[in-house]
């Protein structure tokens, strides 16, 4: 059905553009003749087709714009969610590397400015991500296959430095800091935690800002 609609739209846009081209590029003689005899141009003789094409294009443009806006809105939120999940995974990696005694204090300091505990925050983020995927499926919005490429399953206790580096591969500053952190440079620990905390909070604020448009309550 989608293909038929596309073919129809292409056909109508072709006819519409043909009509306009005829109107513009009509030879001078014919133009003169037509105007002198009847005052009519080719577009006038096929008025019903032109009107139909105009209607089809108008509806198609407005519908596809709404669809595009909808898609952008959901995908924007999904990108922020993915980033947050990456930072949460990196914070698990830091914890695994340091092997601290008090995990509760370490993790909750990362999400304390969001108003949730680390456990609740992770759970909510994953749930929102899953729900948005369901929404995309429900509205039959096609998703870029590359957007799923970076997802991999790994237990939190198995996140090591190489996995952290892989997650930070698109962020050169973070990548460099993780390599320094691996060399046991103590200053990097506080910097890394603060950076992750800030990034998570920023993305969280962005999600909160965008979520009202598509009815997510956080």
């Amino acid at each position: 059905m989608k293909n038929i609609t596309k073919v129809f739209i292409l056909f109508s846009s072709f006819i519409f553009s043909y009509q306009i081209m005829c109107n513009i590029n009509f030879s001078a003689q014919q133009n003169k003749k037509l105007i002198s005899n009847n005052n009519y141009l080719p577009i006038h003789y096929q008025s019903s087709i032109t009107a139909l094409c105009f209607y089809g294009l108008l509806i198609y443009c407005s519908d596809s714009s709404i669809h595009y806006k909808h898609q952008i809105c959901i995908m924007k939120n999904m990108t922020h969610l993915k980033k947050i999940i990456e930072y949460l995974a990196i914070s698990h990696g830091i914890y695994n590397f340091l092997r601290l005694d008090n995990s509760f204090l370490f993790f909750n300091q990362i999400t304390n400015n969001t108003g949730y505990t680390f456990h609740d925050f992770t759970l909510y983020i994953l749930k929102i991500y899953q729900e948005l995927k369901n929404t995309l499926h429900f509205f039959k919005i096609s998703k870029d296959s590359q957007s799923e490429a970076s997802i991999f399953l790994c237990h939190a206790s198995l996140i090591t430095i190489p996995k952290m580096l892989y997650l930070a591969s698109d962020n050169p500053i973070l990548y460099k800091k993780i390599t320094l952190f691996e060399k046991n440079e103590i200053d990097q620990r506080a910097w890394l935690i603060n950076y992750i905390k800030e990034q998570i909070f920023e993305h969280f604020l962005d999600i909160q800002k965008n979520s009202k448009d598509i009815g997510i309550i956080i």
Binding site: T135, F138, I214, I217
Partner: protein, 240 residues
């Protein structure tokens, strides 16, 4: 004997019932609509809605401006093509009307499915919260008591049975639609918040209950559920 037992087990699995419970109880809610509606805010698409509304009058204006002859003259000149075109137009208009009606009915059923689904999520969320509180009490005092109020349980049973009927009707009409699964024991404040779009007061009451971990007066939500259930009952009676 083995065969009968296997059959019973399979059918229980298929219909998603808990055999261990005394009453009929759902373990997972299968919904044809996801929890997050995902519809764009009306303000964001206002301009495009105007275009959609104005498209037919605009097309009529363009047609009347461009058309050199009167429509009657054109029909009189090309009778055969005109009669065929009129027949085809009436036929396609009829087809479009039927499709539109079908879509309207589907949307109407979807509205009620969504309402009932949200109520079901909220009530099961409340039940989970009550159970969690009961468990905490049991852990502290080593005394076990049935804490769930009777009116919550009754409403939950009514909603469950209504949901099974409505979902069966929906699946019969639209068997190809996808289903989204929501395990009942995992319903928490997140699901409740997404489902409580119908009332801010109820959302605040339930959020407070979850944050401060204490019981609240559930009469507000139960009364709301009762009125909605009555409405859905009437609609279901009309549909079936």
């Amino acid at each position: 004997m083995k065969f009968i037992f296997l059959f019973l087990l399979l059918s229980a699995n298929l219909y998603n019932f808990d055999l261990t419970a005394h009453t009929l109880k759902l373990s997972t809610i299968y919904s044809p609509i996801p929890l997050i509606d995902g519809n764009l805010d009306a303000k964001n698409v206002q301009f495009y809605n105007y275009i959609n509304t104005l498209s037919i009058p605009l097309t009529a204006c363009i047609y009347s401006i461009l058309n050199p002859y009167h429509a009657i003259d054109t029909i009189q000149k090309n009778q055969l093509i005109s009669s065929f075109m009129i027949y085809y137009m009436i036929h396609s208009a009829n087809h479009c009307y039927i499709l539109h009606k079908k879509k309207m009915i589907k949307n109407e059923i979807r509205v009620y499915v969504k309402k009932l689904f949200h109520l079901l999520i909220v009530m099961h969320g409340i039940n989970n919260q009550i159970n969690a509180l009961e468990y905490a009490l049991y852990k502290n005092t080593t005394m076990h008591s049935n804490h769930t109020p009777q009116n919550v349980m009754t409403m939950l049973e009514k909603l469950d049975s209504q949901w099974i009927i409505l979902l069966a009707h929906y699946r019969k009409q639209y068997p190809l639609d996808s289903l989204y699964a929501y395990p009942i024991d995992q319903i928490s404040i997140f699901e409740i918040a997404q489902a409580t779009t119908f009332s801010v007061n109820i959302l605040n009451t339930l959020t407070e209950s979850y944050k401060n971990k204490h019981d609240v007066d559930y009469n507000l939500i139960i009364n709301y559920a009762k009125t909605e259930l009555e409405k859905i009952d009437i609609i279901m009676h009309n549909i079936t």
